[in-house]
Symmetry: C3
């Protein structure tokens, strides 16, 4: 793997700062095929960031909603018939209408059927894959390292956004290592799902997929840190995270970014 270029690395915080402003100015609509546990929180996270959610799963409608959307999220967290049908239509429509999309292969490490479905979707040109270490291993057959992430990104022609204590974002040539975030983020359900929705929102306003993905993960991590400073546990953290995301400005992003 190439060593990441310093100028590029340094630029992630600045990219994120510009991106959050564009989200607020343009208000891109993100169509979300996501799981029932995550729907409400995901919609509120998108609204707090300046984007607009839409969430229908109905086979009669989803194509029309995706065709006019600015980006698409496909989250596999509830792997039911209705969502599989909706996903098929949505991904076809996204290809035809040139709508960027992100896949979040939730819990594929626990379900071979879901992992197969995820692999088939990744072959259909999502721009980015947002996942955790277990899910990456289930996809690629190996533990996530800088090298395996870059290899997988190159092979699949996607950007891989790996969430964890440290986030890694790889496109095969570039790597961002993001040290922001807070342990309370793992104590709120759907935090990862909502992060993937923010990646989709970022793709709507930033054509460089690696910058968009890294920016979305950085924005989430910094909002998590700011929220945690106001929180007294996971309940108040979830509300403080939304408040922090709503108020997050470029200056705070640049001041707090821990990106290597």
């Amino acid at each position: 793997m190439q060593h990441p270029d310093t100028a590029v690395r340094v630029g992630v915080a600045e990219s994120a700062a510009a991106l959050i402003e564009r989200l607020r100015t343009r208000g891109p609509r993100v169509h979300c095929i996501t799981n029932a546990v995550a729907q409400n929180f995901t919609a509120n996270v998108l609204l707090a960031a300046g984007a607009v959610p839409s969430m229908t799963l109905s086979a009669e409608e989803v194509g029309r909603f995706v065709a006019s959307a600015d980006a698409l999220l496909v989250n596999l967290g509830t792997f039911d018939r209705e969502r599989r049908e909706a996903t098929e239509i949505a991904v076809q429509t996204a290809a035809q209408a040139n709508v960027s999309w992100v896949i979040d292969p939730v819990l594929i490490d626990r379900s071979p059927a879901r992992a197969d479905f995820a692999r088939a979707l990744i072959a259909r040109s999502p721009k980015a894959v947002r996942l955790n270490a277990f899910e990456f291993s289930a996809l690629s057959g190996g533990a996530p390292t800088r090298e395996t992430l870059a290899d997988y990104a190159r092979t699949t022609k996607t950007v891989i956004g790996l969430s964890g204590a440290t986030d890694l974002v790889a496109d095969g040539a570039r790597l961002a290592v993001i040290g922001n975030g807070h342990p309370l983020m793992a104590k709120v359900t759907a935090m990862g799902c909502a992060t993937s929705a923010l990646v989709a929102a970022a793709l709507a306003v930033e054509p460089d997929v690696w910058r968009a993905t890294a920016s979305a993960l950085l924005i989430t991590g910094v909002a998590g840190e700011c929220g945690a400073e106001q929180a007294d546990g996971p309940g108040s953290f979830a509300t403080a995270f939304l408040d922090a995301l709503f108020k997050l400005d470029g200056q705070t992003l640049i001041a707090r970014a821990k990106v290597n």
Copy 2:
């Protein structure tokens, strides 16, 4: 259109004050066919206002739940097969059992199939339609004005409750113009859906549909203002809105009402 009668106008705040007390005393049950994004928040809004939510969508059960309910909400925000079936049974049952119902034609401006479904439902005698300007235009073919709202209300024999920076409630003869509310209300998903559920709750305790609808919109707007005073962003606003609605009393409603 007739000019609204001053005495009637002045009476909206007093109606709302009496209505919120009746909700708490009587605790009407509102059966909600609503979208997955909105279900949890809608249930909590009804509970905070003194009403009791029920939410089953199962074709085997929904008729029985509606027949014994005090009011019904039909929200089209998730337009799937299951909800369309449930809606058919629910609306039939409501007609037979004389249960007042409200329709919220969510996002019909984005989906002609959903707009057709909404129009067919409105022909089946809901008491009220709660919507925004885009949705009204999709229904009626024109922008919402005092005149077009009144015309549409007369034609469909419903009360139209239009939410926006200013809310308008028209029954064809009377018009309430409600200036309460707060911009943060647009930053919490399902706020409109929950407002429609409050309209249904209001119908359960107030036979004058126009007064019920205007009261529900006023209550929501004042709770929004009170909540915003305690909030630091959309996350804390959603919780503060529920707290404010729970504590809202007639005096506060009358003192804060901006009704013309």
Copy 3:
């Protein structure tokens, strides 16, 4: 009914104190078949207590998720086709894989079809039934008293956890009377559903089903009291409840327990 043994009674607070530590150390995974209104809050309650939620309903996957889970919750709050199918697979798998499970027969007092379904499930050896007084009457045909609870527990070979102003937990020989809790708990939707999920989590780390069930109800009641002290209404209460549950320690449980 036998009189409860004093030593046993006194031991519930100590059992709960040990149990909450075990939840945090072991992080058991609880698979939840639960209703759409409750899914998000239930997942957050399990996370706050130290457990790990999984929630898929897909017929292709639910068996695998249950087989590797540490406990199972079957909640009847959304009684749709998909959840009935998932329940059938889940209960079969639980029997084969020896996974303890809890049933929450939500609102069966309003739906005879649902009550029949609940009775058939209770014949298939859940460890515990968590319900309210209306639901108990619908199941057993009589009002809940210490005697009828004990009889029903003996007949069905389950532990009955009855929530109310006072909680009662009966296994036919022993009875716990728990006076903790707060009226705001009835103003947050899915509080009962989440309590049932905590009963399932408790079963994963405590083989004595009566102690596990009583501990889960005590933990919920004490977290409710602690949360209410920080709350200004039902919105802030829901977040404060999660914070309190997250921070709850054995000492607080023992100091606050009102168990007879």
